[in-house]
Symmetry: C2
DNA sequence: GCTAGCTGCTTCGGAAATACTAGCGGCCTC
DNA sequence: GAGGCCGCTAGTATTTCCGAAGCAGCTAGC
């Protein structure tokens, strides 16, 4: 397949049409406030709740707790408890979670190019 | 730069760390309910309000109207009015809007691979 | 031992966002 | 004229997000 602009556009268009179900599912996750940033932050490696809260910045505890629960339920992240003392909790992305890396990379690239600085 | 798995992982990690500002900006758009799907649907080409509403499916008029306004204000989409009769309104992505295609493609690929069917 | 501070949550009440739906004016068809 | 389409808007109801207080567990310093 040649890499002409037209065929690339058509491929994108067909892909999005066939990927509608996929996009619906994906944005049921990514379209919730903070989820994308939580996942993006966990790309840097496993993290505790408070560490994650500080790294994300600006997310309330209750929402962060909800989002992490959802991500774990969806199999995108795991929650590991070290019984201690001191007790500690660590959140880490799963393979599925890390699978979002290419998309997040593309999003960051797009953002740097097209979104204005606030 | 070699393409070894380690350097790829490090590149992703560094990229996300350096892209945090970018991700924050991006998810201020994509992290809102329906915006991702609206953009994804407009990838198929220009569309009227009702046509878009039906294609996206499940979004309320008032929220769709809000989202489209926001996308236009951000320069991701344009709203064109044909004075008619009959009067018609068409929404279309800008170059910046279409610039999200690679990311949406990656998201759809990821979703197909890792998210469970409902 | 007490206090202060960290941890990871949970709970509660309120603010903000979203959903729902009726309605408007413009237009077309029967 | 009635009914239906269009693109919204406005008002109300519901859901989501938020902020902050609080809990239990733990540590460090006095």
């Amino acid at each position: 397949m040649t890499e002409s602009p037209e065929s690339h556009t058509a491929t994108v268009g067909e892909r999005c049409a066939r990927g509608d179900r996929g996009l619906v599912r994906a944005f049921s996750v990514l379209g919730k406030r903070w989820s994308g940033l939580v996942i993006g932050t966990l790309m840097n490696g496993p993290s505790g709740f408070r560490e994650l809260s500080r790294a994300v910045g600006g997310v309330s505890d209750s929402v962060l707790s909800d989002r992490l629960s959802e991500l774990c339920e969806l199999g995108l992240a795991t929650r590991r408890v070290e019984p201690g003392p001191p007790i500690s909790v660590t959140y880490e992305l799963t393979e599925a979670g890390y699978g979002l890396a290419p998309a997040l990379q593309e999003i960051a690239t797009w953002s740097d190019k097209f979104l204005v600085d606030d």
